[in-house]
């Protein structure tokens, strides 16, 4: 009898599982009526100036009235909308892989002191109300918005800027060196001098440079857009002010181990911590390690639309944790996410499902030089290989020995043009005719050049070897397998030229270490730069970062103590960069920047086999006011350039 009982138990469990199966469709139906109740009860358009969820709080007495939360009328920032004035409500639903993915939401919600304008050539006031600058660009007077408040209601004043400058930035508490933007350069000697920051009154401060710093605002907009911090919060945690023991105690309270790590997290990556006041449109609400990380509207947000309605329109940002990038795609197709960005490799599948998934694909251009290409490390340690890489004829041979039409058809679905790595049209630094340079497929000529270079001997596999009989292998070290299709094609073409190509895929951390150790002879990183004068990292060897200049960068960053001394055109680029930094006018800067780009055109250290591809912003059809045809660049803070506070969800 006992046995029979356990058998019945088994049956019951099976029945339960079955019941769960058949329950499949039922909850879906039940969800529908719920959506209707969410609709805002808004009828008279123009007198509703704040979101219903905030009105409820005001009525309940837990939140001050709108006028008390916003800056004084003249200092409120009016944010232009892209298409139409929106309505309140709805969630921005997006996937993320967890706190390691913080920059996606970070850039989208970032509020810079000065932000780039639509075309990206100038900055415009954002957190700042405005500025004045003297004639020789040494004194910048910056005005803030009177009555503006942090998300906890504490006023935002010049003290927040001064505090950040004095106690955080110049003390380097959050793991970053004082940004380059704050140094001005003596045109005569090249000496650097740190700026001085002074408070004028509660809503005005000055930044004074010893030498002209024409691009100060642009460079701050890139290096250090958050030139402020909530002083009232950081006062309670900085070791300088509360003592090491107290900081350690707070560190432990937050669940952290080391105070330095804690200060980096709170001082630099502050937007994912709900404990820290912010001036962004949305405020984090829970632990970022949760399965769902949620931001809610900032009741003290200081921007309105043209009708005076407080932004943002969308109530929340809901970020669901995913384990694998394909879930982003799958979730978008099934409507789980309503505003997501993809790169061009998902173009076909997105377009195929546009109707079914009820979304639209909005392409933004990128200031990238190519979408498939190789960089040759000019300082690679092997002397034979380095000589070869530094020989411009070798780069020409590699360039013309590959059929770009096939590469762009297979690797980019034909989205990219079959062109050389070059500054795209419309981006600062564009050069006529560069896209066509060495872009024609001509394997015979390529072989001929390689023969001329003395690579005539072959090994038993018919691969070319160096004249001294040593082995010639081109090594590409990749941090991910994403480029497999391109690399396979590249291998085919290089081997047709008699060049042995080895592709090593390592994990991205190892690849990073190898880069610093100068052990990456070739790499497939694509150059992306909106304006070399704003961010020189990819084109000017100032530190170890971009594969083509390898340890030339170390030479600059170590002041000549380590690394390889740049010579020839690379040395020239560095001289031009010094001139850019010491320039007295924008024209001068543009002229020198242009010369830097021209040297790149002449040398083609970076060889491109397919032109740039767009970034695909995929928005549900109910998500409105998403601009099209903007430039997607880190400098402009990617999606943040579209000003998400004015995105809204049509009910």
């Amino acid at each position: 009898m006992k046995r029979n009982k356990s058998f019945i138990l088994l049956l019951v469990i099976m029945a339960l599982v079955m019941a769960a199966c058949s329950n499949n469709a039922a909850p879906k139906e039940a969800e529908k009526p719920k959506d209707n109740t969410d609709k805002p009860v808004e009828t008279a358009q123009s007198d509703v100036k704040e979101a219903p969820m905030l009105t409820a709080l005001v009525t309940a007495g837990t939140l001050p009235k709108l006028e008390e939360r916003m800056p004084v009328q003249s200092d409120i920032m009016v944010q232009e909308v892209v298409d139409e004035i929106g309505t309140y409500g709805g969630d921005w639903k997006m996937p993320w892989t967890g706190p390691g993915d913080k920059w996606g939401v970070g850039m989208a919600t970032e509020e810079a002191l000065f932000r780039f304008n639509k075309t990206g050539d100038k900055v415009e006031p954002n957190v700042a109300k405005g500025y004045e600058v003297n004639d020789d660009s040494t004194v910048f007077t910056i005005h803030l918005r009177e009555g503006m408040k942090w998300s906890d209601g504490v006023p935002f004043t010049a003290d927040d800027v001064l505090f950040y400058w004095e106690h955080m930035l110049t003390k380097e508490t959050f793991g970053k060196k004082i940004y380059d933007a704050y140094y001005s350069v003596d045109p005569a000697t090249g000496n650097k001098a740190l700026a001085e920051v002074k408070k004028v009154n509660d809503y005005t401060f000055t930044v004074t440079h010893k030498y002209p710093n024409v691009q100060f605002l642009e460079r701050v907009a890139i290096d250090n857009k958050w030139f402020f911090a909530p002083a009232h919060f950081h006062k309670t945690i900085l070791p300088e002010l509360v003592g090491d023991a107290k900081t350690l105690e707070i560190t432990k309270q937050w669940g952290y181990e080391d105070p330095k790590v804690f200060l980096v997290e709170t001082g630099y990556y502050d937007w994912i911590h709900y404990q820290i006041p912010t001036i962004r449109a949305w405020v984090p609400k829970n632990d970022p390690n949760s399965d769902q990380f949620i931001y809610e509207r900032n009741p003290y947000y200081w921007k309105t639309d043209a009708e005076g309605k407080q932004l943002p329109y969308m109530d929340r940002i809901v970020m669901t944790k995913i384990q694998d990038p394909s879930q982003k795609l799958l979730g978008t197709l099934s409507g789980d996410y309503n505003l997501v960005t993809f790169d061009s490799k998902d173009f076909t599948v997105l377009k195929e499902n546009e109707k079914k998934g009820d979304f639209r694909v909005i392409p933004w251009t990128q200031p990238t030089w190519s979408s498939a290409g190789v960089q040759l490390n000019q300082t690679t340690p092997d002397p034979n290989l380095r000589k070869l890489f530094q020989d411009i004829r070798f780069r020409e041979a590699l360039s013309i020995g590959v059929d770009r039409v096939e590469i762009s058809e297979i690797v980019t679905n034909g989205l990219a043009d079959p062109i050389q790595a070059s500054v795209p049209e419309g981006v600062i630094g564009y050069q006529e005719g560069w896209a066509k340079q060495w872009a024609e497929y001509d394997p015979e000529r390529a072989n001929q050049i390689l023969d001329e270079l003395g690579l005539t001997k072959r090994d038993k596999n018919n691969f070319r070897i160096f004249a001294d009989g040593s082995d010639l292998t081109l090594d590409i070290v990749e941090g991910s397998p994403d480029n497999a299709a391109f690399l396979e094609l590249l291998k085919k073409y290089y081997e047709n030229l008699g060049l042995k190509l080895n592709v090593k895929v390592v994990d991205s951390g190892t690849q990073f270490d190898l880069k610093y150790a100068n052990k990456i002879p070739m790499h497939t990183e694509n150059i992306s730069v909106a304006n070399v004068a704003f961010r020189p990292d990819t084109l000017v060897p100032l530190r170890v970062i971009t594969p083509w200049f390898g340890h030339y960068g170390l030479y600059s960053s170590s002041g000549g103590k380590e690394g390889e001394k740049p010579e020839g055109d690379v040395a020239l680029i560095l001289q031009l960069w010094d001139k850019v930094k010491a320039s007295k006018s924008v024209d001068e800067i543009n002229q020198y920047s242009n010369e830097i780009v021209k040297l790149h055109m002449k040398n083609q250290w970076v060889i491109g086999y397919a032109g740039p591809t767009p970034v695909l912003i995929t928005a549900s059809n109910s998500v409105r006011n998403v601009p099209s045809n903007l430039v997607w660049a880190d400098e402009y803070r990617t999606l943040g350039h579209g000003h998400p506070s004015q995105f809204y969800i049509k009910q």
Binding site: N24, P27, W103, G175, D258, D324, G509, F512
Partner: protein, 332 residues
């Protein structure tokens, strides 16, 4: 018997210490460390760290110290304070990270196990009793397919079908609106709905295994003299089946039960990644990938401990179930 158990428990201690050292050493083996994988991730988002910043971070996290020193500090904290260290990825103590995922992991694993046994044992018995019948061929064929299909592939297929038929690939364990909601009947239903695919996918290959084992064991037992005697004495077929062959055939299944202990607490890994399940497997995988060594180390240690304990439990269970083994103990 008691002596045997005590002896086994004492043996566990050196084994676990040895494992902990090997584990820690192996985690350190691959090139790079947490800082390099972290800075690579940050640089992909345009936030580039300089060498000096990386060195400082290494010093802050204690990663610049020699391996044995890191090991001793780690072990000391575990033994003296029960502190398993700090997860760099999560910026939280390891214990908290493990705790966050434990509940759902156990739910998924237990439901999966129930599914396995509930499906496999009856089918195993049926296929053995009705050997070479149409039903036997059907289930045997099915179980071979189940054994041969990789889990994650099956996961992808089921997700595809779910997406094309219902418009929802049923990713994760909850629908979006329930993830942060407090527990309610609706949330439980939502969980059950989302559990179907993971349970089938994770459970299928071992279910297939179990069917085969059960069938083989039953076939061995069905014609043993004790069964024939029972039948001759006129006992009904059902009670014969339950009383003798099934009980004996459960032997190998029980002896492997203990091993599933560690898999209950970790859950599946690749399948969980494909299905976006918030359970321990993917957390562990990412810890290994990102060289989040204290999290990874604690996990491997924990799993090793569970395996050792699980084996012990299996032995005890077997002794309880199988009189032959019990007598062997006594004979000692």
């Amino acid at each position: 018997m008691l002596q045997y158990i005590i002896k086994r428990i004492l043996l566990v201690i050196p084994v676990v210490i040895l494992i902990s050292f090997v584990v820690f050493y192996i985690i350190q083996l691959p090139p790079g460390d947490y800082v390099s994988s972290y800075s690579a991730k940050m640089s992909a988002a345009g936030d580039v760290m300089t060498q000096a910043e990386m060195d400082e971070m290494r010093a802050n996290l204690g990663l610049d110290r020699p391996v044995y020193e890191q090991y001793f500090v780690w072990m000391k904290k575990i033994i003296l304070h029960g502190d398993f260290g700090f997860s760099f990825n999560f910026n939280k103590p390891v214990i908290d990270v493990v705790g966050q995922y434990m509940g759902l992991t156990i739910v998924v694993s237990l439901v999966t196990m129930l599914f396995q046994y509930a499906v496999a044992i009856p089918i195993g018995i049926y296929t053995a009793v009705k050997q070479y019948s149409a039903g036997d061929y059907f289930f045997s064929g099915l179980s071979f397919i189940g054994m041969a299909t990789p889990n994650f592939l099956l996961a992808i297929i089921l997700m595809y079908l779910s997406y094309t038929w219902f418009g929802d690939p049923l990713l994760g364990l909850f629908s979006n609106e329930y993830v942060n909601a407090p527990w309610s009947m609706e949330k439980v239903f939502d969980l059950m709905k989302h559990l179907i695919i993971p349970v089938i996918v994770i459970g299928l290959s071992s279910t297939a295994d179990l069917v085969r084992i059960m069938r083989g064991q039953m076939l061995d037992e069905l014609n043993k003299p004790n069964v024939v005697t029972a039948r001759a004495k006129g006992l009904s077929e059902w009670s014969i089946l339950w009383k003798y062959p099934t009980r004996a055939a459960l032997n190998p299944i029980v002896s492997t039960l203990g091993w599933s202990l560690s898999s209950i607490f970790t859950g599946a890994t690749i399948t969980a990644i494909v299905l976006n399940l918030p359970i321990q497997g993917p957390v562990m995988y990412n810890a290994l990938l990102g060289q989040d060594m204290y999290l990874a180390g604690s996990w491997l240690l924990f799993m090793a401990l569970l395996t050792v304990v699980g084996t012990l439990i299996s032995d005890i269970l077997l002794a309880w179930l199988d009189p032959k083994i019990r007598t062997e103990f006594r004979g000692n």
